[in-house]
């Protein structure tokens, strides 16, 4: 939901480099523990979810410049370990498509992955409390809470980075146009050479407090839409293929009926 749309060279080096290091470490950990057959079996699921997040991001639902990201759906289906891998792959492909910078792959991976993890944990918790029949409710609530948390993380990131919110755009909501693409390069460490040019920043950095006010007031609309979509999709899957949701991501695959074996027995 909230991957950071920042061109390269906006964030301070320690921040994006730190993001890369941490992301690389957890991706490596997630990958290194993947020797088992059962994890390997899930690779098509991870691939499809990554591709689905990419395709969903490119399909607008309503003409308010809002696109769904399906991070909670993916998180619930993939579980923690595979979510990390999927998040990384999504960000790499996005970067290859020029959508977001290369330096921010690390931070974006962390954001997307934590969103998926939050979603997964909350959903699991709520299902335990509410019972397995309330998939729609559980996933809706999990989505809203997850997105609220993710937004808070984003605000925190903006505060920490010290570059001002002008560079950060929360994609889930209908944003006012003052959250601009243009970057105040002069404020960042990369104020020289390669990274100081091109766009003139047309608006001054928005103070963190104002940024927070904006995303917390406009965000909920986006959260709600995403929650409705997530609830609908997960309820559908719970009805048609429950094991994907209830058996946890790493249980052995129980496949759909293969080949010609459709029909009642």
């Amino acid at each position: 939901m909230s991957h950071i749309h920042i061109p390269d060279g906006v964030l301070p080096v320690w921040l994006w480099l730190g993001g890369w290091v941490v992301a690389a470490a957890i991706v490596w950990l997630a990958s290194a523990r993947s020797g088992g057959v059962d994890v390997r079996r899930k690779v098509p699921l991870v691939g499809v979810m990554a591709a689905l997040m990419l395709v969903a991001m490119s399909s607008e639902i309503v003409p308010i410049a809002y696109h769904i990201n399906l991070t909670v759906v993916a998180g619930v289906l993939l579980g923690p370990q595979l979510s990390i891998v999927a998040a990384f792959v999504v960000q790499v492909v996005l970067a290859l498509l020029g959508h977001g910078g290369v330096t921010v792959i690390g931070l974006n991976t962390l954001m997307t992955a934590s969103e998926m993890l939050f979603g997964w944990m909350l959903f699991r918790g709520l299902i335990t409390v509410l019972g397995p029949r309330r998939v729609g409710l559980a996933s809706g609530v999990a989505t809203v809470v997850t997105l609220a948390l993710a937004t808070t993380m984003l605000v925190g990131l903006v505060a920490v980075s010290g570059v001002g919110a002008a560079t950060v755009r929360e994609t889930g909501a209908l944003d006012p146009q003052n959250l601009t693409f243009a970057a105040p390069f002069s404020d960042s460490i990369f104020s020289v050479g390669l990274f100081s040019g091109g766009e003139r920043s047309s608006s001054p950095a928005v103070p963190v407090r104002r940024f927070a006010t904006i995303v917390y007031t406009l965000g909920p609309l986006g959260w709600l839409i995403e929650a409705l979509v997530t609830a609908a999709v997960l309820s559908y899957i719970a009805r048609v293929r429950p094991s994907l949701i209830f058996e946890g991501a790493l249980t052995p695959a129980r496949q759909a009926l293969p080949g010609d074996e459709h029909g009642r027995h």
Binding site: S31, S58, G197, Y236
Partner: protein, 265 residues
């Protein structure tokens, strides 16, 4: 979009790019991508686009299949640009960057059989990530294909155009669920076959001998020059900005020559 179209072009094409060593193409691709990432000048980005287009034209690559694929990211770049860019110029830049990066990827995939590309990628990525990247690449085509089928089916059955947004939204999400499960089964079968036939997370390919060392070097040199131009215009943009049109003009002349030579022969 059928993945077979990409495969067919990659294998049966006979151009200089087809004959070049995979390594050279990957290096050139990274350089072009870096040029796009570095660039903040619309004219420079368009220059890169046109150089790529000229190559497509001169080498008689199947432009009719390639261009729609390359234009695809423009859809979601446009969403982002619409909401966040301060002015039309910045918005164009965002879209141009996305399309150019995609055009570079598409050119690579249309001239190189995918196992060659992924064998190289998997050498430098952790096991599960490389594995997932391959599956994501295959799944994007499956999904895009099925999404088209499904929206058509939904439109036929409930009618997105009836002016009932709620009903339309419900039909869309149901379609999304169906799409997800279908794609999952297909991806699962595809992966099963890979595993049955000996795949275990690393594609192995026979090295394709380069047809001409000179062509390999030429490709890399051109790509490197593009990166140098992009970097120059980024660093000395104040002094160079008024000469940006020269790059574009030269590139356009190149494209014209390519098109003309194509028509003649």
């Amino acid at each position: 979009m059928d993945i077979a179209v990409v495969d067919r072009s990659a294998v049966s094409g006979n151009s200089t790019l087809h004959g070049a060593a995979t390594g050279a193409k990957l290096i050139a691709f990274s350089l072009v991508l870096a040029a796009v990432v570095v660039s903040t000048n619309l004219f420079v980005v368009l220059t890169i686009t046109i150089v790529l287009l000229a190559a497509v034209a001169a080498l008689r690559l199947p432009a009719r299949s390639m261009l729609p694929l390359a234009a695809y990211p423009a859809v979601f770049a446009a969403v982002f640009a619409f909401a966040s860019a301060p002015d039309a110029l910045a918005a164009s830049l965002i879209i141009a960057k996305a399309v150019t990066a995609a055009l570079a990827s598409v050119t690579l995939m249309f001239t190189t059989p995918y196992p060659q590309v992924f064998a190289a990628l998997q050498r430098v990525t952790p096991g599960l990530v490389g594995d997932t990247l391959l599956m994501t690449y295959r799944a994007i085509f499956i999904l895009a294909d099925k999404l088209g089928d499904l929206t058509r089916a939904v439109r036929l059955r409930s009618g997105l155009s009836t002016g009932h947004p709620v009903r339309a939204a419900r039909a869309t999400t149901r379609a999304l669920g169906g799409l997800l499960l279908y794609s999952l089964d297909l991806a699962q079968r595809e992966y099963d076959v890979l595993v049955l036939r000996g795949y275990s997370g690393r594609l192995r390919v026979a090295l394709r001998p380069s047809r001409s060392r000179a062509a390999d070097s030429a490709i890399i040199v051109v790509a490197f020059m593009l990166l140098c131009l992009a970097a120059l215009w980024r660093i000395y943009w104040i002094r160079l900005i008024s000469y940006s049109w020269i790059l574009l003009a030269v590139a356009l002349v190149g494209l014209g020559v390519a098109l003309a030579s194509r028509r003649r022969t």
